[in-house]
């Protein structure tokens, strides 16, 4: 997982998908948008265009209205009906300067409407403006999923993501583990050193979690001083190993303002191996992990307790 979850995608240029049945328009825009930092992809009819947009959603779609196979209105309807493509801005290109078409296109969710023949400078400006808007919307959407203090995903994102992972694991018999992490004696840290110190402990522990997680893991701030990690395609033994590294990293962390104070975490894990085919609701997963977290606390804190979702305990010697 990257240091910061908020990335601007600055490495690659945004993709613009042109859906138009006229070869002329493809040739013209290919030449005229060459100097923009975009990657232009093409489809010759609405059906193919919608398929391409679903396979690999672009940052902007330029959509002709009058096309054979599937016309622009139908394509727009399909794009807006599908959650994968719903938020992609669509600029409608039309050879007919008709108010009725414009109103229909905007009603279906187009962000802009350009009449052919295009004024090229204007089209370029409209393309840029739509791309800018999309980048801002994406940033907002991403920020709405992120907890400001820890920079991990927030609780809402965790809930959505866990639901998806549970379903995937059930459907395909894939391994899955989840971990609940709680900072030990957090209240006493707050009471002794003040809330700013408590905040820096939360963000420090979050960094240790981020460091140990792999790109497929989803690390979240579950609430207060509690964190959760979803570990897809990972059985409980492997999850215990990864979480043990988090536990050790936290224990070894030295706090610049209070070098003598050690901050430890307790971790409860529950998981299932590949092909074991166990079905449980997301709530049941969280409850089971919470129970293990509770036993880790009961057993003296600063430890990792993991079981299979069926209740079989994973000990560290076995995991080791």
């Amino acid at each position: 997982m990257s240091e910061s979850l908020i990335h601007s995608d600055s490495g690659s240029s945004p993709t613009v998908l042109l859906i138009d049945d006229s070869q002329f328009v493809h040739r013209l825009l290919d030449a005229r948008l060459r100097d923009e930092s975009i990657e232009l992809r093409s489809a010759a009819d609405g059906r193919r265009g919608v398929e391409l947009a679903r396979e690999d959603p672009p940052a902007l779609i330029l959509l002709d209205l009058d096309m054979p196979v599937m016309d622009g209105f139908e394509a727009l309807r399909e794009l807006k009906d599908d959650p994968r493509t719903r938020d992609i801005p669509v600029i409608v290109l039309s050879g007919l300067n008709s108010s009725q078409d414009k109103v229909a296109a905007f009603d279906l969710g187009a962000v802009d409407f350009v009449t052919k023949p295009f004024e090229l400078t204007e089209l370029r400006a409209r393309v840029r403006s739509s791309l800018r808007m999309y980048a801002l919307l994406q940033m907002l959407a991403q920020k709405a999923q992120i907890d400001g203090l820890s920079e991990l995903y927030n609780r809402q994102y965790f809930d959505t993501s866990l639901k998806g992972e549970c379903e995937r694991s059930m459907r395909h018999g894939q391994a899955l583990s989840i971990a609940m992490i709680d900072i030990d004696h957090f209240k006493s840290i707050n009471d002794t050193y003040g809330h700013p110190a408590g905040d820096s402990v939360i963000s420090g522990v979050a960094k240790m979690i981020t460091k140990q997680c792999r790109s497929i893991d989803t690390a979240c701030r579950y609430g207060g001083e509690e964190f959760a990690i979803i570990l897809p395609e990972t059985g409980p033994v492997q999850a215990v190993q990864l979480c043990e590294r988090i536990r050790v990293a936290c224990e070894q962390l030295r706090w610049s303002r209070h070098p003598s104070r050690t901050v430890t975490v307790s971790i409860g894990i529950v998981g299932i191996g590949a092909g074991e085919g166990f079905s449980a609701t997301p709530e049941a997963w969280v409850e089971a992990a919470d129970r293990n977290l509770y036993s880790a606390k009961q057993a003296g804190r600063n430890r990792v307790k993991g079981t299979g979702i069926d209740g079989n305990t994973i000990d560290l010697a076995q995991a080791g």
Binding site: D21, S22, Q23, F24, V25, R27, L28, A31, R32, R34, D66, P68, G95, K116, P117, F118, L120
Partner: protein
């Protein structure tokens, strides 16, 4: 291929990118003229409307606003006519003027 009088285009023929677009348009124009003639001859008014519509939208961008305007007139005629076969003479004269305009770019005198 020799290009006609530079002032005939709304693009700058001395700009490499513009020249490339002009050349491209002229190179595919014969094929479009054939489709127009074939569609008209076969009373295939839907195809005729489609080619006219595409030319109207694209030609100006390639530096050929006159072709765009002429194709636009043809498209308009086809759209406004209930039964195109009843207007065959009007359509014929529009098709002929569009085709001869296109040919004047394909074979500049």
């Amino acid at each position: 291929m020799t290009l006609p009088d530079p002032s005939a285009f709304s693009l700058d023929i001395n700009d490499p990118e513009d020249a490339e677009l002009i050349q491209y348009f002229i190179s595919v124009l014969p094929e479009r003229v054939e489709s127009i003639v074939a569609a008209f001859t076969n009373d295939d008014f839907d195809s005729l409307k489609r080619v006219a519509h595409q030319l109207k939208g694209a030609a100006p961008g390639f530096g050929f606003p006159t072709i765009g305007a002429e194709a636009g007139k043809l498209e308009q005629q086809l759209r406004s006519t209930g039964d195109p076969s009843e207007q065959i003479e009007t359509l014929r004269s529009q098709v002929e003027s569009l085709v001869s305009l296109c040919n004047s770019y394909i074979n500049p005198s």
